[in-house]
């Protein structure tokens, strides 16, 4: 279901990238085990290729996306499919129960890492004065808690019905409706929009929780995140690792056996390992501060932090404070000292 939801984002990114591998990635559902190695190879090849592309033409992808994403990304079939699910976002025991439970980990993760940097001293509203962008906000499950903590949050999602649900849910709470706003668009559209306006307002933090595993082109995503952030701003990502264990537990068990997540939500090829994600982010002007594994207990329905990043993990990266141009030789290769530092909580 998530993959469907983000098909529009994907399609938009495809048309820009023109990589033959994308077609392969979409068609193979990843159910059979044989294609893993092949897919891994293809995926890293694709990343290298697109990285080359990036370095040469980095300002272009965003502009291209504006043209191609606007008319053709919204697929009426998918919008209709999500109309029925859009009302289910806020049922805490329903299809999205695991996402609701994940707030127990991701909200403190975001809050504490932001407080380390910003030291807001406003009791009761620790994130007051910060602007946060929630990419792929869905029904606003993560947007609302961040708003309650005092931040000004903009939630974006390509699926309009999810945005409607989010707006409706937030409209009842006068406390939230001042600080939380939603927009139905993609990340590229937002960053191009802001570029058009003079003196674009950048965000203190960008949150992309359970989003990255649904995108085909992460380079552009990382680039647009970089554009949207102030220097020194934070990027928070939670996603799923690409390991045998994540296939076994995250797809077979979670989707097919226990039905924790609706079947077809995740596509194993789109999972990305923390090492690869770090490499990608660092080549886009980020410095990864911490990576932490998360584990879901289906019996208790609760998440917990864990040392192993084999299945789910959360990542915090910071945009470099100096010139945010990503194409410099020193940033291309991942720095070894950053990797060792990355595993602390």
């Amino acid at each position: 279901m998530y993959s469907n939801k983000f098909n529009c984002l994907m399609l938009g990114l495809y048309s820009r990238n023109r990589s033959a591998v994308c077609g392969l990635v979409q068609s193979a559902p990843g159910r059979s085990g044989f294609s893993w190695t092949a897919v891994c190879k293809q995926r890293s090849l694709k990343l290298q290729r697109s990285a080359c592309l990036e370095r040469q033409h980095h300002p272009m992808p965003c502009q291209i996306s504006t043209r191609s994403a606007s008319q053709t990304t919204v697929d009426p079939d998918e919008v209709r499919r999500f109309q029925s699910l859009a009302s289910k976002w806020w049922d805490e025991q329903g299809d999205f129960a695991a996402l609701h439970a994940m707030n127990d980990l991701r909200v403190p993760f975001i809050r504490d890492n932001l407080l380390n940097v910003h030291r807001a001293r406003h009791p009761g509203k620790p994130l007051a004065g910060l602007r946060i962008l929630d990419v792929g906000c869905g029904g606003g499950l993560l947007t609302e808690p961040l708003g309650r903590l005092g931040a000004n949050v903009l939630g974006i999602d390509p699926v309009e019905d999810s945005i409607y649900t989010a707006q409706l849910h937030a409209s009842y709470d006068p406390d939230l409706s001042d600080r939380v706003s939603y927009q139905a668009c993609t990340l590229e559209e937002l960053s191009s929009e802001e570029k058009e306006e003079q003196g674009a307002d950048q965000f203190d933090a960008v949150v992309a929780s359970e989003v990255v595993e649904h995108l085909a082109d992460l380079e552009t995503f990382a680039f647009c995140c970089n554009q949207a952030l102030k220097p020194g701003g934070s990027l928070f990502i939670t996603t799923i690792n690409k390991t045998n264990l994540s296939y076994a537990l995250g797809i077979v068990v979670a989707e097919q056996l226990l039905r924790i997540v609706p079947s077809g939500t995740h596509d194993w090829e789109k999972f990305i390992s923390p090492v690869e994600l770090e490499r990608l982010l660092e080549s886009n002007g980020f410095s990864v501060q911490s990576v932490q594994g998360m584990l879901y207990n289906p019996v208790s329905g609760a998440w917990s932090w864990t040392n192993s990043t084999a299945i789910n993990y959360a990542l915090h990266a910071v945009k470099h404070r100096d010139d945010p141009q990503p194409d410099r030789a020193e940033e291309r290769s991942p720095r070894p000292e950053d990797h060792t530092a990355a595993t602390h909580s």
Binding site: S70, Q71, V74, S87, W90, D91, E92, N103, D104, V107, P108, R111, P123, G124, K125, P126, E144, P145, L146, G147, R148, L149, L154, E160, I163, Y164, Q167, L168, H169, A170, S171, Y172, D173, P174, D175, S177, V180, S181, Y182, Q183, A184, C185, E189, E193
Partner: protein, 486 residues
């Protein structure tokens, strides 16, 4: 937020679609709200529609007021809108009255910690409170007794405080918290409207409270602190285990025959029910005599002298003891003292009573009650609304203060995590933690009451032995005191 979507029109092809659909939504919403809802005239008024409280506490007694203070002083809840609704008048006590009032509570050290945390304990100590260092509990049917005290009689075991003073101290503290906490006195609730458990698209997701003056308030979390006959609990339809004890408590203020260092609490179990004398000052004590309804009425009708005689004889006479029990009792004591020679204490007698305070004899019925659920979606019960106990252990108020401490801590943590205060997750944690603590206590109190309600020989022998044995085991007594002090 709707304005953002309005400006969106340029960027996507479905922009126009977005605009009209959102407007339709909003229009439909307003139509549904004005149709068939409790909100009547106020609805159109923007300020009333937008005023949603974060927490409303229904009931301004000791526990409800303590909850309001506790939430108001929590750093993570700064900026939240908290309201306390009390049906009665504001209890201001500029000067402590000369006479003692009859309703008193034993405040445990744990409760005293909570009250000092909210800043009310200072007011209480400045007004009036009596610490006591020792408690003697003994049987009328035998010689068995048990004493509780802290080592060397240095520390206080607990405090006897009049209920009015606790409420007045909390009220004074609430006055200083008026930025965070509002209080509405003389506001009686006539109706509660509960939200749908699952967020349905066209209904108000908050709890609605309708007052007698027609005002309707909305809140994200309702805390029911409205006493043993809780309306909140009733309206929710929460099944409650309860029974009446066929007992009433007679309370009075006693004048002692001579001044004494009055720092012992006395309780004797008569077959008709326990009689307790709790120290108020060097010359006065509070009486709590739980007995059958008939006897209670008779006691109220006695003239002062006969009443005083009845009290003294209840504490002093040995007419309930039979020879068999006396022999058995001394045998047990002998046996136990060979095992633990140093433990055990001599029986002391309470001070004798000379008179009672004027117009202070009152009686009220006793019962036990326990709500099977303490919480529902957006609602939590605290204090007597959730659990009602027999006064024989002096725990009723302390269980309530324990609820306050637990719920405050959980709400504080939830707010720091950006959660909706009415969400079930932390309310369930509150319920689990408190039921785990309260149920054993209530079961123990009920068991004690039943155990001591008879003078049948086997039961008497059993409890005699049990009491004497417990008295000789300091480790066990410490455990009991620790459990009761939380």
């Amino acid at each position: 937020m709707s304005s953002v979507i309005g400006q969106e029109t340029g960027s996507t092809s479905s922009g126009a679609l977005v605009n009209t659909t959102w407007l339709d939504y909003t229009a439909a919403l307003i139509r549904t709200h004005s149709r068939g809802h409790v909100l009547s005239a106020e609805h159109g008024d923007d300020s009333a529609k937008n005023e949603v409280y974060d927490v409303i506490i229904s009931g301004g007694g000791m526990v409800g007021s303590a909850m309001a203070c506790s939430l108001g002083m929590d750093p993570n809840l700064v900026g939240k809108k908290i309201l306390l609704l009390e049906a009665g008048n504001k209890k201001v006590m500029d000067k402590v009255p000369d006479t003692y009032s009859t309703r008193v509570s034993s405040i445990s050290p744990g409760s005293a910690t909570l009250l000092s945390g909210v800043g009310a304990w200072e007011h209480i100590t400045k007004m009036r409170c009596k610490p006591y260092k020792k408690m003697q509990v003994w049987d009328a049917c035998s010689d068995a007794l048990i004493t509780f005290d802290k080592e060397n009689l240095q520390d206080e075991m607990a405090y006897i405080v009049e209920n009015d003073i606790v409420v007045a101290a909390l009220t004074k503290q609430l006055d200083s918290l008026s930025d965070n906490v509002k209080v509405k006195y003389r506001s009686k609730v006539v109706k509660y409207t509960w939200p749908m458990p699952h967020h349905a698209a066209d209904s108000i997701p908050w709890v609605q409270v309708t007052l007698a003056n027609g005002e309707t308030l909305q809140t994200k979390l309702l805390i029911g602190a409205d006493g043993p006959n809780s309306m909140v609990r009733r309206e929710l339809g929460i099944p409650t285990v309860k029974w009446n004890y066929d007992q009433s408590a007679v309370v009075a203020v006693l004048h002692l025959s001579e001044p004494t260092e009055n720092n012992v609490a006395w309780q004797r179990f008569l077959p008709t029910g326990p009689i307790a004398m709790l120290p108020l000052s060097d010359t006065e004590s509070s009486l709590v005599w739980s007995t059958s309804h008939r006897l209670a009425e008779e006691l109220l009708e006695l003239d002062e002298e006969s009443f005083v005689d009845a009290i003294n004889s209840a504490f002093w006479s040995n007419e309930n003891q039979s020879e068999l029990i006396e022999t058995a009792g001394s045998l047990f004591r002998g046996a136990l003292s060979t095992i633990m020679p140093s433990a055990g204490s001599p029986r002391q007698l309470p001070p004798s009573v000379a008179g009672i305070g004027p117009k202070t004899r009152v009686m009220f019925p006793l019962g036990m009650g326990h709500a099977s659920e303490y919480i529902r979606h957006r609602v939590a019960l605290i204090g007597d609304a959730a659990h009602r106990v027999h006064p024989l252990a002096g725990q009723g108020a302390n269980l309530g203060f324990g609820d306050v401490a637990c719920l405050t801590q959980l709400l504080s943590q939830a707010a720091f995590n950006g959660k909706d205060l009415g969400a079930m997750q932390h309310l369930l944690e509150y319920e689990t933690e408190r039921q785990r603590h309260n149920l054993p206590m209530m079961a123990a109190i009920d068991l004690m009451k039943r155990l001591y309600s008879t003078n049948a020989a086997p039961v008497v022998l059993l409890r005699t032995f049990g009491l004497q044995a417990t008295n000789m085991l300091p480790a066990l007594k410490e455990q009991i005191m620790a459990f009761a002090s939380k």
